[in-house]
C-alpha cells in the first residue's frame, strides 16, 4: 500500500484558479459592465456616507444616544450578524470548488482562509452601525471589535458543533430578544471602567476568538460547507430572479427540512381533516404563532400618520395571515396532491380557507383593539371592526400564496414618471388588491380615526362578499388565469389613462 499523498499547496491551486477566473472574467465583462458596477459602488458609498454624516450632525445637535440605545443596537447588530452566518455558513465555497477541492488532499484551512478573512471583514463592517448610532469616540474600537468577535465566534461555532446553523439561529434569536428588551425597558448594566480599558478588553477578546477560529479551520465538516452553499444558492436564485415568492418557497422547504414533525395528532374524519392539517402545520411551527402575535402589536407600536397606519395594518395583517397558508401554496405547486386526495381545487381551497379566516379574524380583532387602545379610542369597536375585516384579509393572504412566479417577460409600461415593469407590479398587486378592496371600510376608519356600528356592519358584509367571490372565482387554474388577464388588462388601461392625463397637462 502506498503512503498517503502529501498535502497540496493551496496557494498554487488558488493561483491556478485565479488566473483562469480572471481570464474568463475578462471575456465576460465589458467596459460598460465594469463602469456600471463601479458607479453603483460609488453611489452606494456616497449614499451611506451622507446618511452617516447626517446622523452624526443630528447627534451633535441632540446629544449622544442613551446607553440603552447603544446596547440595544449592539445586541441587534450581533443578532443580524449571527442570523446571516446561520444562513450563509459563515464559511463556504463555490459549489464547483467544494465538489473537488474539499475532497482533494489540500489543507482545508488554506482553502478557507480567504473566506475567513472576508467573514472577519463583514464582522468589522457590522460594527459600523453601532459607531454611528453611539456617535462618540469611546465606542468606536469596542464596536468594531464586537463585530469581529461575533464573526469569529460564528466561525468557531461552525468548526466545532455538528449543527452550527441551529446554534447560530438560537444565538441570533437570544441576541434579538435581548435587544428588544433592552430597547423597550431601558435597563443597562452600570459600567464604570475607563473607556481605554473597555477598548483593550474588547480587542483582546476579538483577537482571542479570531485566533481560536483560525486554528480550527481545518476541522470544519464538508456537510456544513455544503449546507451553506445550498442555502446561499437558493437565496441567490430568489434575488437573481427578483422573486420573493421563490425566496419564501425556499425558506418554507428549508424550515421543514430542519424540523422533525413534533407531536402525534389524530386527524378527524371527513372534510375537517384539511383544516386540521393546517392547524397541525401551525402547531408544529410555534415560531409562526409568535410572529402572528408580534405582528398584531406593530401597527399600535409604530408612530406614523393615520393613513400610513392603515396601510401598515393591512400589510401586517396580510403577512400574519400568510403564516397559515403554506399548505395552500403546496396545493398549487403540487397539483398531484389533489388528485391523490380525491378533492377538486375548488373544494381544497374552500377547506384550506377555514384556518386563515379564523386566524385573520382573531388577529384583526386583537390588532385593531390594540391600535384603538393606543390612540385613546374604544378598543371594543376596534376589535369588532378588525374581526369583521378578517375574512377579507384571509382572502388577500390566500390570493398572495397562490401567485405564480414573477413574470419578467411582461411588457414595460411607459409613463411620464418613468418605466414601470408590469410583471413585478402585477405580482405585488396580486397580494394587496383583494385585501385592499375587502378592507376599505376598516382602512378608512383607521385612517380617519372614526369607528362605529355602521362601519362594522358594512365591513362584515364586504368581507363576506369578497371572500365568497374570491373562493368562487379563483378556484381553478383557467379561472385564475382569466382573473390574471383581467387584472393585467385593467392595469394597462389604468396606466394608459394616467399617461394620457399627464401628457395632456
Amino acid at each position: 500500500m502506498s503512503a498517503a499523498p502529501a498535502p497540496v499547496c493551496a496557494r498554487a491551486v488558488r493561483r491556478w484558479l485565479r488566473i483562469r477566473q480572471v481570464r474568463r472574467a475578462r471575456e465576460r465583462w465589458s467596459a460598460d459592465g465594469l463602469y456600471t458596477v463601479a458607479l453603483a459602488v460609488v453611489f452606494l458609498l456616497v449614499t451611506i456616507g451622507m446618511a452617516v454624516r447626517g446622523h452624526l450632525l443630528h447627534a451633535g445637535e441632540t446629544g449622544p444616544a442613551t446607553a440603552a440605545t447603544v446596547l440595544a443596537v449592539a445586541l441587534g447588530g450581533a443578532a443580524v450578524l449571527l442570523a446571516g452566518a446561520a444562513l450563509a455558513g459563515p464559511l463556504g465555497a463555490a459549489a464547483s470548488a467544494l465538489s473537488w477541492l474539499a475532497t482533494s488532499p489540500m489543507r482545508r484551512a488554506d482553502m478557507l482562509r480567504p473566506r475567513f478573512v472576508a467573514v472577519l471583514g463583514v464582522g468589522l463592517l457590522g460594527g459600523l452601525p453601532l459607531t454611528v448610532v453611539a456617535a462618540r469616540p469611546a465606542v468606536v474600537v469596542p464596536a468594531f471589535a464586537l463585530g469581529v468577535a461575533t464573526a469569529a465566534a460564528a466561525v468557531l461555532v461552525q468548526t466545532s458543533v455538528r449543527d452550527p446553523a441551529r446554534v447560530l439561529r438560537i444565538s441570533a434569536a437570544v441576541c434579538g430578544v435581548a435587544a428588544v428588551a433592552v430597547g423597550l425597558l431601558g435597563i443597562v448594566p452600570a459600567v464604570s471602567s475607563p473607556a481605554i480599558l473597555v477598548a483593550v478588553i474588547a480587542v483582546l477578546i476579538a483577537g482571542a476568538l479570531t485566533f481560536l477560529a483560525a486554528q480550527r479551520l481545518d476541522s470544519v465538516r464538508t456537510a456544513t460547507l455544503q449546507a451553506s452553499v445550498s442555502s446561499v444558492l437558493g437565496v441567490a436564485g430568489g434575488i437573481a430572479a427578483a422573486d420573493p415568492g421563490l425566496l419564501s418557497r425556499v425558506s418554507e422547504d428549508r424550515r421543514w427540512m430542519r424540523h422533525r414533525p413534533r407531536g402525534r395528532f389524530r386527524l378527524p374524519a371527513g372534510p375537517r381533516a384539511i383544516p386540521a392539517h393546517d392547524m397541525i402545520a401551525l402547531l408544529r411551527m410555534p415560531s409562526r404563532i409568535l410572529l402572528i402575535a408580534a405582528l398584531a402589536s406593530i401597527p399600535a407600536l409604530i408612530d406614523v400618520t393615520p393613513s400610513s397606519r392603515a396601510v401598515l395594518w393591512l400589510a401586517c395583517g396580510l403577512f400574519a395571515t400568510a403564516q397559515t397558508t403554506g399548505n395552500v401554496r403546496y396545493d398549487v405547486d403540487r397539483p398531484g396532491l389533489g388528485r391523490l386526495l380525491g378533492r377538486t381545487d375548488r373544494a381544497m381551497l374552500r377547506l384550506r380557507a377555514v384556518v386563515p379566516v379564523v386566524v385573520a379574524v382573531i388577529w384583526g380583532a386583537g390588532s385593531a383593539a390594540m391600535l384603538l387602545w393606543q390612540t385613546g379610542g374604544e378598543p371594543a369597536w376596534g376589535a369588532a371592526l378588525g374581526a369583521a375585516a378578517g375574512p377579507a384579509l384571509a382572502a388577500g393572504a390566500l390570493r398572495s400564496c397562490r401567485r405564480s412566479f414573477v413574470r419578467h417577460d411582461y411588457p414595460l409600461i411607459v409613463t411620464p414618471q418613468g418605466v414601470v415593469p408590469s410583471g413585478p407590479l402585477l405580482w405585488v398587486t396580486q397580494a394587496f388588491d383583494v385585501a385592499l378592496i375587502g378592507t376599505l371600510p376598516a382602512l378608512a376608519a383607521v385612517a380617519a380615526d372614526s369607528f362605529g356600528g355602521i362601519t362594522v356592519a358594512i365591513q362584515a358584509v364586504l368581507s363576506a362578499v369578497v371572500l365568497t367571490a374570491f373562493l368562487t372565482a379563483s378556484a381553478t387554474r383557467p379561472a385564475r388565469e382569466r382573473l390574471s388577464r383581467c387584472v393585467r388588462a385593467a392595469m394597462t388601461r389604468a396606466a394608459t389613462v394616467i399617461w394620457r392625463f399627464s401628457a395632456a397637462e
Partner: protein
C-alpha cells in the same frame, strides 16, 4: 367499459405525439402502456386524467367525458403521475391517514393505513417527514397515498420508478388486489414484470399503437 379512448390525437404545439389511438379498459382489467421514451405514454395518461386536452378523439372514464374539475371524477380516479406529491408538515403515517379520512372507505372494504405502510415497508419511517426520506421511500409514500382510498380507476405513470426489486413486486401485488376490488388500471411502465401481469398495449408514437397480447 371503465375507460374508453376513441381515435385520440395528442400533441404539443405543432408536434403530434399520439395519433388515432384507441383503447378500451374493462372493469377488473389492468392495461400496461409500453413503448420507448417519447412515445406518448405519459401524455396519454395525462389526457385520461384530464390534464391534457386532445386535438381529436374522445376519452370517457366511468361513462362520462373527462373533467378533472368535477368532484365525481376526482373521487373515481386516482392519478399518480410524475409530479411530487407530499406535504412537509405531515408525517408519512399522517399522509395515508389524511387520504383515508377524507374519503372514509367502509370498514374492512379497503386497505388499512397500517397495513399499507407495512406492505410498502414504510412502517419504520412512519413518524418521519417525507423531506427526510430517500427517493425510493418517497415513491412508496406516493403509492401508499394512491392505494389508500377507494376508487374505480387507477392511473399510474412508471410506478416502478426508484423502487428496488421487492418494491416492484409489491406494486404488482397491490395492483392485483386493486383489481379484485372491482377497479381498473392504466399503467405506463418500463418494468417487464409489471407489464407481464397486465394486458400490454404498445405505444409507438404518432404512427400507430398496437396490442401485443
Amino acid at each position: 367499459m371503465v375507460i374508453s379512448i376513441d381515435r385520440l390525437t395528442l400533441g404539443y404545439g405543432d408536434h403530434i405525439v399520439v395519433a388515432g389511438f384507441s383503447l378500451e379498459v374493462r372493469r377488473r382489467e389492468v392495461v400496461a402502456l409500453r413503448g420507448p421514451n417519447g412515445a406518448g405514454k405519459s401524455t396519454l395518461l395525462r389526457c385520461v386524467a384530464g390534464l391534457h386536452t386532445p386535438r381529436e378523439g374522445t376519452v370517457t372514464v366511468v361513462g362520462s367525458s373527462v373533467d378533472e374539475r368535477d368532484a365525481g371524477f376526482r373521487r373515481a380516479v386516482v392519478a399518480m403521475l410524475d409530479d411530487v406529491a407530499w406535504y412537509p408538515s405531515l408525517t408519512v403515517r399522517e399522509h395515508v391517514d389524511l387520504v383515508q379520512l377524507l374519503n372514509r372507505p367502509e370498514a374492512g372494504s379497503w386497505w388499512d393505513p397500517v397495513e399499507l405502510l407495512e406492505l410498502l415497508s414504510l412502517d419504520t419511517v412512519a413518524d418521519d417527514s417525507p423531506v427526510r426520506l430517500s427517493s425510493g421511500q418517497r415513491q412508496r409514500l406516493t403509492l401508499a397515498m394512491a392505494f389508500a382510498r377507494p376508487s374505480r380507476v387507477l392511473l399510474l405513470d412508471e410506478p416502478e420508478r426508484h423502487l428496488d426489486a421487492a418494491g416492484r413486486q409489491t406494486v404488482i401485488d397491490l395492483v392485483r388486489t386493486y383489481l379484485d376490488r372491482d377497479g381498473a388500471a392504466l399503467i405506463a411502465t418500463h418494468d417487464p414484470d409489471l407489464a407481464e401481469a397486465c394486458r400490454i398495449v404498445e405505444v409507438t408514437g404518432p404512427e400507430h399503437a398496437r396490442e401485443s397480447r
